[in-house]
Symmetry: C2
Subunit: 155 residues, 2 copies
C-alpha cells in the first residue's frame, strides 16, 4: 500500500491542538463535528494543510481527499456509537489512508494513541493525553477502554 | 459593514508563512494557485483554519465562504495581469470580506502591506517583506510599485 501523507482529523468536542491553536474552550461540543487535514511531516510538526495545498503539492488528489473525508466521517458515526455503549465520549481522532490496488483505504490503526476518549460522566481522560499531560495511569486507562468495549485480556 | 473574521489568502508562488510552515522551497510556482483561510485573531497569531472550522464556530457560513473564494480568485485573475503589465509578479495576497446589506463584499484595502510583489525579472521584493526582512527601501519600493502601475504621486 502506498501511504497518503495526509492525516484526517474529526473532532466532536474541542480539545488538544484545536484549543491551543484557536483559543477555544476545551470541552465544548462541536456541531457539526469539524474536519481538518494535517501533513505528515515530523520535521515541521505535522502542520495543518487543506485540500487546496494537498492538491497543488501533489500530496493527494481532490478525489482521494473527498473519499478520505467520507470514510473519516463514516468511522465517526460508527465509533461514536460504539464508545457511547461503553459510556465514553469519542472526543476526536486521526486517521491515515493509503492507496491499495487503486482504492483509497484505511492505512493505520485506530487506538487511544490516535484519538481522545473521555468518560462520558466524569470526563476523565482515557487516552494518550494521560501520558502527554503526565496524568499517569496510561496502561490502566487503555485497559479500561478495552474492558468497556468488552475486550478480554490474556492473563 | 459587518466584517467576517476570516482572511482569504491566494498564493501563486511559494513564499512567507507557507515556506515556513510546510518547508517547501521559496519561489516555486504554485499550480493551481493555493487558497487558505486564516482566523483574524491577534492573540493567537491569525491561525490557519478551514471551511469546516469556520462553519462550526460560526465565523462564516459555507455560502459566505464559497462567495469569498470566488471573489478572491477573481481578484487574482485581474491583479496578476495588472501587475504583469508593470513587470511584477503577484506572489500572494490576503483579502478580508464583510457583509453589507446581506451581500459578501470586499472589506479591506489591497496594498503591498497585504500582498507580496516581486520584480518579474530580478525577483526583487517590492512589498512589506522589505520591512519584515529588514531589507530597507520600503517607501522607495512602494513608490516603484505605484510608478509601474502608472500612478503619479503629488510632488
Amino acid at each position: 500500500m502506498q501511504m497518503i501523507p495526509v492525516e484526517c482529523v474529526v473532532r466532536n468536542i474541542a480539545a488538544g491542538g484545536l484549543v491551543k491553536r484557536l483559543g477555544v474552550e476545551e470541552g465544548i461540543a462541536l456541531t457539526p463535528p469539524t474536519f481538518e487535514l494535517f501533513l505528515k511531516n515530523d520535521e515541521k510538526g505535522d502542520p495543518m494543510i487543506n485540500e487546496s495545498l494537498a492538491e497543488t503539492f501533489g500530496w493527494a488528489t481532490p478525489e482521494q481527499l473527498a473519499k478520505m473525508k467520507v470514510l473519516t466521517f463514516k468511522v465517526n458515526h460508527i465509533l461514536k456509537a460504539l464508545f457511547a455503549e461503553g459510556d465514553m465520549l469519542l472526543v476526536d481522532y486521526k486517521l491515515e489512508f493509503g492507496v491499495f490496488k487503486g482504492e483509497v483505504v484505511l492505512g493505520d490503526e485506530f487506538s487511544p494513541d490516535g484519538c481522545r476518549l473521555w468518560d462520558a460522566n466524569t470526563r476523565e481522560k482515557l487516552d494518550k493525553d494521560r501520558f502527554r499531560q503526565g496524568l499517569g495511569g496510561v496502561i490502566e486507562a487503555y485497559e479500561e477502554v478495552g474492558r468497556r468495549l468488552g475486550i478480554t485480556f490474556p492473563a
